[in-house]
Amino acid sequence: MTTTAEPQETKYTGKSQQRIEDPRLLTGHGTYIDDITVPRMIEGAVLRSPVAHARITRIDVSKAAELPGVFAVITGNDLVEFAGEQPVIWSVIPEQRIARAHALATDTVRWVGQGVAAVAAVDRYVAEDALELIEVDYEPLPVVADLEQALAPDAPKLYEDWPDNISGSMTFPAGDADAAFAEADVVVGASFRHHAGYGCSIETRGCIANWDVFAGKLDMWLGTQAPNLARDLLAQVLSLPVDKIRVRTPDLGGGFGLKFDFYPDEIIAAILSRRTKRPVKLLEDRQESFVSSSRARDMRHDFEMALRSDGTIIGLRGTAYAVLGGALGTVGSGPPWASVLACMGPYKIPNQELTLKAVMTNRSPYGSYRGWGMPKANIVHERLIEFAARKLGMSRIDLRRMNFPTPEEFPYFSGAAFTYDSGRYADCLDLATSAVNERGWNVRQREGREAGRSIGIGYGFHTEVGAFGPSRVLNMVGLDHSGFDEVRIRMDSTGKVTVLSGQSAMGQGTHTTYAQLAADGLGVPIEDVTIVTGDTESCPYTGYGTGGSRAATLGGAAIVNASGRLKSKILRIGAELLEANPDDLEISDGRVSVRGAADASVSTADIGYSAYRMLNGRLPESETPTLEEIDVFDPANMTTSYGCTALLVEVDRQTGAVTLLDCLQAHDAGVIINPLLADGQLAGGLAQAFGGGLFEEFVYDEDGQINTASFMDYLLPSATDIPPFHFYHQETPAPHIPGGMKGLGEAGTIAGVSVVASAIDDALSDLGVAVTEFPMTPPRLLELIRAAQSAGVTA
């Protein structure tokens, strides 16, 4: 195992450095996908199926093709000439039936929004006009609109040659769950339902494809979190060699996992470009996004927990149902699988039996969304432990504390898959509860209650698996991709630094944090560091992509390693120039000097000059010219950050409306590179989780139609819905990550859903309400309140 290399200089690391990205973005000088125009570019649009399940009996594109301004119209049959089926990179369930589809349907549509035909035209206005002229006849097939219907014994089938609608199923055992439940003093259980939602970046997805057969190249601008993966998958689907494909990413207007996945649109744009011999821009618009971007969260977890009367948890078992769509998306059933693997959370549970069932329905493909299954794992363990506390008459805080692994027990194997690297869980819990006191929430609650208001305090403890992950382990569990990260760091002839990374910048401030790490690693001013990302032709390969809290942990570790080696070379050259021993030298603020004798110094510009231009007499004979280091970092294990979130809410018992009043989180993500940005990540994630907990839902009808395909009905929380945030950090470095970072990109989304339920329950504790469904909308909550009230009356 690599030992922790603490950055020696921490002029920047750990400081709330302002972002170097900001001036550009604040002045409208960012360049997002729709801001890019390449010469001769035309625009595309996709005709999407208006029905959830049907056979296509006729498509007539002739009228559309005749419309002035239209360059090409393609259907599924045109597409299959050049393209294979869409890729599925995660096959987590042994012997799973993997339902793949082409980028445009060829004979059957299996979800509302599946692509049926596509147009390239002079601009998007005309392209949309042309879509209206395409005639399609659909012969309706029976629709499997939801999970329960899909599981029914007489359910219509999505795939005729399958025995049922189940794509696959697997169980993770640990210990002897049956015995544990048999001997338990207390068992609590529930069916938890998180309805569908999506990442919903404010910028939709988009790409510009330029497939020039004469140049023999496919050049693509793509708003993606995983440019290297996209290039490999383009190669796979289009049967092109990777070296003939270039993927560049512009600024991303948010990613949130949604832009990790590889979509049909990339292939459609490529084919339209090949057809028209023009670069084609294809943007998803907001209305489409509800059916054409990865659907997520949609799962049911029927789980129960067994405890002894003293509060010791002895067992956890249950079945998780993934509501997959009409075909598998890029990540298959990866997120539902993660929700099962992580559902014991921070607790020591010796006996487990965890089952995943992946079920097909006539909904759009399931895919990535920040949190990647873990928000639902969190719902399972955090809800059940609170139900248990109630039943045992114990404090929900104490019950949590007594079931944590102690700091000495790390590395701790959680039972199903993950080994948690390090942690001080109880300290973190105490940090949160004392912050709740400090902020006077208990007083607010008491006074509010005295005034007849229903104020509740919710708690949630979460673990977040980051630094995703050791390549060979990922391969072993079913990923057709790796998990390492590569960084190239270069000092130029003027002594300035460029860091090239395969990670994507999507708003999380990667360029700033990387510049902080590189500046500290090399001992140069941060202004001297430039970060370059987003071009497969010039930037290194990263396994996976930007997701799973990989950027700070793996990319960061690679920067720490590479800059450490580059610094040694700089010092060796400095030693030659200063006629000193490299061991006596230090570098700070871009000057190499003899330790303790600052007047004897040279600048990094002198070093650069010696390494690139005036080698004679300046560059030691033993050194190769240039100043460049590459580091490929493949972690030995994932990291596990964790935190305790507390939420203050008010419930209106007459309407079921919930108001979020205040929120705090105590958090440990190992070494924090930039507290300002860390807090931003946590807050943003929590806000998304509150969206999922209270507002955001794809509502479907019995025909599989989505009734919430606009921002008037799919409700993103706004500034009046989200409370203020307060963060408290604790730092337990990851022992196996150079730099000690653990990652925190998904913490908020994981922690924030269950804590809403906890707070609502607390506000209504006199009624004994137990929230198990998300989003908990006012009508749903009012129903729970009424049911509890009438149960109270009859009891």
Partner: protein, 287 residues
Amino acid sequence: MKPPPFEYRSAHDSTETVELLTEYGDDAKILAGGQSLVPLMNFRMARPSVLIDINQTQDMTGIREDDGHLVIGAMARQRVLERDPTAGVAVPLLPAALAHTGHTTNRNRGTFGGSLAHADPAAELPALLVAMGGELTVKGPSGTRIVPAEDFFLAPLTTTLAYNEILVSARLPRLPSGTGTAVEELARRHGDFAIVSVMAAVHLDSNGRADLVRLAAGGVDSTPIRLHEAESVLSGGTLDETSIDAAATAAADASHPVDDVHGTASYRRDMVRVLVARAIRSAIANR
């Protein structure tokens, strides 16, 4: 989400608007603030072949008092109306209702008349007009006619306006001093269309008996509804918990909501009861 093509005409005043509407017939639509029409066009759910832009007209923007009434031009911007001191004093329900109508940026462009003509059953201004017993002035080729608010709204997004008529203004009676008013609204988020909204105005005589009660609700029927039954429960009596509850129940009975993604019909009916009671109580408190 690009709108279908259309021909664009800009009208100089209401008379020219009526002429253009008559010329183009059914295919033409008036474009006011665009906050409802343009989204529909971008979704291609509305596809007028001619748009008659009335943003350059000058004869429909005024907000003035006239003989115990407040007269509001159809082209008064919602944001201007919200902050107009005369309007706020004459009809305190106006700023209160407008605070729930979308967001400031929508109200900057959105017009008073556009909201009425659009006739969304969950919109605040139509419910307010109905509560206040307002009258709408409609101009057509043969002159103007006056339509009481309760007769103006026919169905969701449907009014009595003929294809070649334009709404030019509306009149609202000024409430006697000492009248308490309240807007109670339940919406999923700030600025969203109401799940249920209730407008209330209450005046008590020297004996503490209600001599003026005005109640209306939005979001609970195909048009905003005046809650006559609830009003008569309260009129002439003292307003105590019993009568308020009875009025709230009468209001719930009078509403005919439908299910949608934000709430079932029965939830909405429940909410009428809750919000009517709250509105009456806060109207009394606001006197």
